[in-house]
Point group: C2
Chain length 209, copies 2
């Protein structure tokens, strides 16, 4: 745990602010807690190609020490509430509080596990397995404690174009797979974006792992 003095220092240096949906989050060196909303991380290739390489769902932590080799853009998918700390404060505290460094390391390794999971999906899963895996991932992040056998519903924070850019597909294929899942009774769709899952267990059979 962090010491009381350090918690107080963080609280004193923090500032709360809001970012509207669609706005890019500039990569000043700050760190933030994501209090609400969803953020996408994207990597751009020539020819207008885009790959989404990760998401942040509330409550998550964002920001990183050291420079990235490759530029990654962060953009708010929904309205977003942040609680930010100056980079210098965190960087200094990493050296003073081993527990903070441990937490950052644990967090980075979780993101690495996620990225590798999606490498496997991008390289080796079929379109319908990708879409099922995607719905499971969103469901798991929106309600981490949900019982696998019971039904749940939520609003997708992404457009079909974003989903396609995450799964390495086109919007038409994503749309067709949604339609297929609906006609198979695995999901219901209201208003394009509102999804009801019959059960997480049912989707797991379609997710290809």
């Amino acid at each position: 745990m962090l010491k009381a003095r350090q918690l107080a220092e963080l609280a004193g240096a923090s500032s709360r602010h809001e970012v509207p949906a669609g706005m890019e989050l500039s990569d000043d060196g700050t760190y933030s807690n994501l209090l609400s909303g969803v953020i996408k991380l994207t990597r751009n290739l020539p020819g207008g190609r885009q790959q989404i390489v990760g998401f942040h769902f509330a409550p998550d932590f964002l920001g990183r020490p050291f420079e990235a080799k490759r530029p990654i853009k962060a953009e708010a998918l929904t309205n977003v509430e942040l609680c930010s700390f100056p980079g210098t404060t965190i960087d200094r505290m990493i050296n003073e509080a081993p527990e903070l460094a441990r937490q950052l390391l644990r967090h980075a390794l979780n993101e690495l596990d996620d990225a590798r999971d999606w490498m496997a999906a991008l390289g080796r899963k079929t379109a319908s397995e990708k879409v099922a895996s995607f719905l499971l991932m969103v469901a798991g992040n929106i309600d981490p404690a949900h019982h696998p056998a019971s039904s749940m519903s939520f609003d997708l924070p992404l457009t079909r174009a974003d989903i396609a850019d995450f799964l390495g597909l086109t919007i038409e294929t994503v749309s067709r797979e949604f339609s297929r899942l609906r006609s198979d009774g695995a999901i219901q769709i209201a208003n394009k974006r509102h999804i009801s899952l019959a059960s997480l267990a049912q989707l797991k059979e379609r997710c290809g792992d």
Copy 2:
């Protein structure tokens, strides 16, 4: 930097050993420096599908604190020399030496950057862009300081099947793309595995980013 006492402790607890090509590296909780050789990290999907999610080239560091959510297997692609430390030593020292925690964090973030780069390749690059990117990656790891404009050569430490499992392709497609690069004069191939690159710059034009 680590203190002399800590370096001495590490040296005292370390043990040198060797792993032959093709052998799986068991995931006891130890940490190792990879002194020579190449290791692949794989994730398995049902139906015999496999995705390689990363490599370690010498000199690299392997091992991770905290449990991974998903099982990842590590296998030696070549004969490998390791210098290993017990997990308990490292885990304890993380709390004593902030600099060690920083290094582990930096290392994890580099692996995360790499994984995200490959997500973009898997999701959005063509077969020939993937193969060119792969060759650049291998070349860069085998000789990090190589001049981009001059030619270089090396032995691929992977079979065509491994390359296919890394790039999300089939062995036939990998083979055809190698043949095409050869007939275009971008590479030369001797003995299936020995590759000569005319220049890194030439490949960069084909790698799709």
